[in-house]
Symmetry: C2
């Protein structure tokens, strides 16, 4: 079983076929960066069209059992998520609505301050806001997972402790391996995993040691060390694969509608677009390289299976449905 818990590709039949060829049974796909509720519904609609067009390749995933169905039928279950709470606007009632529509992960912030918490690019991180605490409780109730990948450290630790159910960092790496702004310090990973949460390793080059030139061995060694520190059962993949996206998309991700000036985020004026992926992870057909890399390091078959998908599967099973009344 292979699960990639974060992709944001320029979706196409080609990519859906590559998921199939790569044996990827579930993908958590981002369908909102700055979209408001109505715009997010348009993105759900677009996926409905793709499910209608490519029923032999993909279908809408709602619960963990859908991944079993994908394995049995050689398909890919698509789970939806938001990298920003913009889809719920200022309306706590929309939390249950977006869950009903299929959302399973929602970041409380995307780089900037939101109505709920503080993003990792702000100068000060004041933690969960008044609305943020209300919304986390509601997300807990309905089974919408709190994702803090793009949040500040204080907000992330507070969310991990305040949430009544485990939370996730779906796509990032340890800061001690590569000191990128988006990578996570020990106290942050500790807060998330010690409360039962998951940490997904990113393959976005800005998060890699050596960026595009990062070696498979360095990446897999980093995973093994992280497993030693926090427990292998809390680890999975969230590749952040942005395959075939034009550079205009990274500008939308970074600037949305909030600024009249360009903001380069993890890029720069000299290198504003998407960086090239490492040679050993170009698309969904390359998960075998990571699996082989982990085995080469001497990790057990069970441990590798957990990282490649089993751990996310268990997390899905425990966190996608409402709490008992």
């Amino acid at each position: 079983m292979r699960i990639d818990n974060l992709q944001y590709a320029n979706w196409s039949e080609k990519i859906f076929r590559q998921m199939n060829e790569g044996g990827v049974h579930a993908v958590h796909v981002t369908i909102a960066y700055h979209e408001n509720f109505r715009e997010t519904v348009l993105n759900f609609e677009q996926w409905n069209r793709w499910f209608e067009q490519y029923p032999d390749l993909i279908f809408a995933g709602k619960v963990a059992a859908d991944v079993d169905h994908a394995v049995a039928n050689n398909k890919t279950a698509i789970f939806f998520g938001f990298q920003n709470p913009s889809p719920i606007e200022d309306d706590i009632g929309l939390v249950e609505i977006v869950h009903t529509l299929g959302a399973r992960f929602m970041q409380l912030t995307y780089n900037n301050q939101s109505l709920l918490a503080t993003g990792c690019y702000e100068s000060y991180d004041s933690g969960l806001t008044r609305m943020g605490k209300q919304v986390v409780r509601e997300m807990n109730r309905v089974g919408l997972v709190v994702d803090m990948s793009h949040s500040g450290d204080h907000s992330t630790i507070e969310a991990a402790e305040f949430s009544q159910r485990p939370i996730a960092i779906t796509h990032a790496n340890p800061h001690e391996w590569e000191p990128a702004l988006r990578n996570k310090r020990q106290s942050v990973i500790e807060a998330v995993t010690s409360n039962g949460g998951m940490f997904g390793f990113s393959l976005y080059p800005h998060h890699l040691h050596g960026k595009t030139d990062c070696t498979l061995e360095s990446f897999c060694t980093m995973i093994a060390r992280t497993a030693d520190k926090y427990g292998v059962q809390h680890l999975g993949l969230g590749t952040d694969l942005c395959q075939d996206q034009p550079d205009a998309i990274v500008e939308w991700m970074r600037v949305g509608r909030w600024s009249k000036e360009i903001d380069y985020g993890e890029g720069s004026a000299a290198s504003p677009g998407f960086p090239p992926m490492p040679q050993w992870f170009q698309d969904n057909r390359d998960f075998g390289n990571i699996e082989q890399g982990l085995r080469t390091l001497g990790m057990s078959a069970d441990e590798v299976a957990g990282i490649m998908g089993g751990n996310w599967y268990r997390f899905y099973a425990e966190n996608f449905t409402p709490t008992a009344a």
Copy 2:
């Protein structure tokens, strides 16, 4: 000339006639607490209907000269404002759009954390956000005044210093007179007025010493002391008159859509609704009482005229139009 720089009444022909009887030449009316852009446009539409229905009483004010027109024709110019940035959603481009539609004041926050700054009810005040700084610059450019009445102290002081044009606290009183959460400490009033900004005195009972039983003399003495400390030219009225509003409205103001639990704001479970206004200020016909009260204390005719409207008039003249290119 009389200007009331904050009202949020349950508008009716009766109230428009009372404005006329009270010689109120301009009123800044709140048309958004939690409304998003489209909902705010509905509120502009409602005012267009009233302007069409009551042309002998009210008209849309855009610039200070409209107040002169109101004086000359015995009418009331209505200026629009928002107590929350919800009308611009997450879109900096909407700043110019709402100004074109007639908005002249916008609070950066209403009690809670917004995308721009921190409200006075949050535990931590992190000041202007990344988007907040961009939006203040844009508000400065188009002539939309920053109002910090419901913001935290740090955010207010930072906004007063960061803004390139004077800002306002349209409706509050000094904290040293009545230590309400919404009343403002010396450092805050100093930051706003020393940068050319305006401070409007509130008659909302929760902001008054003795609440509903506050005496006219106590209120006027407080104004005189504030004038001695910060300069009379920076002072005006922003009564926060919520005439004829049902209690359901104060619930909307406090809770909007952000919480499933009731939040009592300045009220309490025992007293959740609008408090009764002081006997000497029931509606728009009572501005003469305040004017008389200030004169009785020995303030000069010029000083009293400034507080009753002249100071807001000057502020309107300087701050409602775009900066020169």
